[in-house]
Point group: C2
Chain length 328, copies 2
DNA sequence: CAACATTGTGGAACCGGTTACATAGAGGTT
DNA sequence: AACCTCTATGTAACCGGTTCCACAATGTTG
């Protein structure tokens, strides 16, 4: 591998001049520029990121910490982050935290050691104090960490309201809400949205909790529906639970959407492939990731973005688990 | 951030001794060891990966290049690689190539500049010569690059044979094979497996090609089945096409598995969630990723693994798109 | 024309580690 | 006592960049 001094030697200038040329900092005369350019081409020179990082204490690496890339929500998010990073010349390190604080802390330390430029963090859990000590640029995704950390979220409450209003408009009167684990703030907001939308009307509501997991949700919902056959509308706080509900209904001989309607939340691809395909409140996942990445890069490149938080509206996608004819 | 010389100063030894202590290289006396340990604790010292990389020209970063993390096959693979890397103290940079040689080349250069320790490469396309110049440890996943590059693949031919034999055993006699794009070697092997399995018996076969994409496959298969209603068994070279087939059949009023049976290939999670759930040849995706990562790390840590290639057997998962009663 | 600003360049310290080499004391051998 | 081998440690060069500072040449201004 050729180094900057090889280039300097061949171009008959000093390394300082070459460095200035490379970074477009300071003056470089026309003939120096010329000879440097030819030297670089001739030697096929590529500057070492590592050496530069050591000097500048900065790299072009972004750390992305998510719970689990296998969770169908995250691949698209990761892709959005990576695309945006790529566009701006950054590179992404992928970390799966499993929502485990120890692992999270470990990654944090590793990333720090590598002088990463910044971190995008998707922790759904409660605020972990160790994030407050980090002096790196951070953007929180999906869940706020701290009031002065820029955050990108979906408007969960609004989305839930959208879903619930729609269920009711489609004639459902006996609503079941499948919440996520209590620790997830996003799930709480969705439940709140559900409650505000269903409270005013003359509607019966129930709320049960389930992990965001197909199989677990299926079991819980199966048991519930068995004992409560009057439910005619389900709002699930995740598409995973919604699909669980679908399977549970199938096993119980409940026809969807004729006997019971279902609306999910998330907008993951699977929802479109299931039969009947899932009506859902789709988060704009790609935009979520893109926005977070852009926000982070802005911060990295010097702008202080204290307090800048962005809330992205989700969108109701009407498919086959709800009825076409609207009442009201 | 504290440095090694801070530690050396506080411990009243030289940086060389501290470095020796950290790397367990060379001799360190008992009292030096003691004072270094306390100094490190007191200062909360964490060595800089970057500085070390500059010296050693090695990092603990592994580059993972895949076509697209959004493709449902890759999240689990990426997770396996990351898990294994984590276990051995490595870190993963995620690169989406979109099967685009230019992007691939770009990433290759970027990764080289960062002194990554090695690269795991999943390119389904034809051999790209630029990989031959790379002097980094490489492992090819899913597709061989070169005879002397260690490679991890699924036994595609065997899997296809498994699927086809099973379809025939379940009574299908008029088989349609949905191949992948011609450029994918893995798809070719699957078609070959299909052909060897179906040739000997008294069976009619057809082969059509489709991208590995739900919607595209659905359209192509819909058109085909419309004109060829006698097909009673489909072997799809990917679960994506299999699901497309399922939807096409649904739209045409063909009952699955009563009128027509379907077997997919890949074993992605969606297959289990679709109705009826998909009988498929499951690749052991996690093991694929894990094996590749381990192979790479072995190489990184000094072992020359020329010619070491591993072929992992897939497994037939019988679900609901095939009939229970076996003929024969 | 003197004083000063602007442009162009190189020397050398520095980033935070690793490592070759020199050195020195302790213990063992003959 | 002379010599050798370990063990233990420090000095300093090096990895490949960035950047401060000094300095020179040239242009500009009053």
């Amino acid at each position: 591998m050729t180094t900057i001094s090889d280039v300097a030697r061949l171009a008959e200038v000093s390394v300082a001049t070459v460095s200035r040329y490379l970074n477009e900092s300071g003056y470089v005369g026309a003939k120096s520029r010329q000879s440097i350019e030819t030297a670089i081409k001739e030697l096929n020179y590529v500057p070492s990121e590592v050496a530069r990082s050591l000097s500048t204490k900065q790299s072009d690496i972004i750390g992305l910490i998510i719970p689990d890339i296998k969770n169908p929500f995250f691949p698209e998010l990761a892709r959005a982050v990576e695309d945006t990073a790529f566009e701006y010349g950054y590179t992404v390190i992928l970390c799966n935290s499993d929502e485990n604080p120890t692992k999270e802390k470990h990654y944090l330390q590793k990333l720090t050691k590598k002088y990463v430029a910044g971190i995008i963090l998707t922790t759904i859990l409660e605020q972990e104090s160790h994030w407050k000590d980090v002096k790196l640029p951070i953007v929180a995704l999906d869940r706020p960490i701290d009031s002065d950390v820029p955050t990108v979220t979906t408007n969960n409450q609004k989305g839930a309201k959208l879903a619930t209003d729609f269920l009711i408009a489609c004639g459902a009167t006996n609503l079941l809400c499948i919440s996520g684990p209590e620790a997830f703030v996003s799930s709480q907001s969705r439940v709140e949205g559900f409650q505000t939308a269903s409270r005013k009307k003359n509607i019966t509501t129930h709320i049960i909790e389930s992990a965001y997991d197909f199989d677990i949700a299926e079991k819980i919902i199966y048991d519930y529906l068995k004992n409560n056959p009057s439910v005619d509308g389900i709002f699930a706080c995740s598409d995973a639970s919604a699909i669980g509900a679908l399977k549970a209904a199938h096993r119980l001989g409940i026809r969807v959407p004729e006997d019971m309607q279902i609306v999910g939340f998330d907008g993951i691809q699977v929802g479109n492939v299931v039969t009947p395909s899932l009506t859902t409140v789709a988060q704009n996942i790609y935009q979520l990731g893109q926005t977070a990445a852009k926000l982070l890069i802005k911060q990295i490149e010097g702008q202080k973005l204290t307090n800048e938080s962005i809330c992205i509206d989700p969108e109701l996608i009407i498919r086959e688990t709800t009825r076409k004819e609207r009442f009201e």
